[in-house]
Symmetry: C2
Subunit: 189 residues, 2 copies
DNA sequence: GTATTTTATTGATCCTGATCAAGAAATCAA
DNA sequence: TTGATTTCTTGATCAGGATCAATAAAATAC
């Protein structure tokens, strides 16, 4: 059950066998049905998910009541509502399983305990934060420099599985354009 | 010369006096003239700046040749071209002193040495990364949820000193709108 | 202090992507 | 399977902000 997670961690940081086991023991299995919410805005519960199988979508509700997708996460990656995880505040975003998913989650308090008890876990977290920052910065840059068509073409080039695997509606939402606009972009080549 | 920096650090993390002195000894003074570039895209040099006095602007050049402002930083804050600092890659952004500025900088290699030698410096860096992530996420959210007028109003509410202190041209660039649009927004109330 | 350059304002026009609407296709429930 | 719901496509219209242009104001240089 923990093979993929073990590989993910050991690819990034060196841990003793005992420490690795302690880390793994903090993760719990969660099977989520398609469209199930595994985190809801307003809840205090803050978990970090590792995706064994399936796909998560993190989104928030805009002032006008519509959804805005922050990101998707697929197999063999971590996902959390990081702003709340960092601050220990109530969740500001929903986390939804887009497909039937198999998740391993760790609670925020256990995660922070590991930072103090497992040498090397702080390096893991630092790497996670750095990656999250760089990803976010790139996404912001894409919004600032590219128009909707260019954003779609970039996504298709760099993340074709997103376009292939997800319904248009969600791809459009991720690109912050309407379904209609995406449909026209796709047909226009 | 190091009072402001000392306060900034000790407000955030506990260090022994000796460790604090070692940290401070890594910082060097740089006086920058108005409009001077203290970091240039393409350079290998990667410094992190603490601003004693003045203002820095980090910007990159878009594919169409125009500038896009990533952020401004004022007195008593740190600023760096963080994506390059993290990756150890060539700078992708220019860093410009908007006003005559008094800066303290630390080189990337010294910064990373401190991570291994000063207990507590890793906590400082973690806090820096977390803050950078949260700020960036908020900025991205603002672009996704707000139109130009609303972005300006938000900036005026949350960061009035930016609007008062910086020329319209730069405020407009930061908001990713044209000077003309900002001028009309301002006159329209 | 004057000349030059840069920045700010205002007007006219244009264009991209949103909105509204309707029908087709696909998905889901049972 | 069949019916219901959701998603996708295509068309017509609209609006916000970009662009281009010209003048005014301010900042800077000498």
């Amino acid at each position: 059950m923990h093979e993929q997670l073990t590989k993910f961690i050991t690819d990034r940081v060196q841990l003793s066998e005992a420490d690795l086991q302690q880390v793994l023991s903090c993760f719990h299995l969660l099977e989520a049905k398609k469209n199930e919410l595994v985190g809801r805005a307003g809840e205090p519960s803050r978990r970090m998910f590792f995706i064994n199988k399936g796909c998560l979508r993190v989104y928030f509700i805009k002032p006008d009541g519509r959804e805005a997708t922050r990101r998707f996460a697929f197999e063999n990656s971590f996902s959390t509502s990081l702003t709340s995880f960092i601050g220990g505040t109530l969740l500001k975003e929903d986390t939804q399983a887009i497909e039937r998913s198999e998740l391993l989650y760790i609670n925020r308090e256990d995660f922070y305990d590991l930072l103090n008890t497992i040498p090397g876990w702080d390096i893991f977290y630092r790497g996670f934060l750095e990656y999250a920052y760089v990803s976010n910065t790139k996404r912001l840059e894409d919004f600032i420099t590219l128009n909707p068509r260019e954003r779609y073409q970039l996504l298709l080039r760099e993340n074709p599985q997103m376009v292939l695997r997800l319904p248009n509606k969600l791809v459009a939402n991720y690109l912050n354009i309407t379904q209609e606009a995406l449909s026209r972009i796709k047909s226009d080549i």
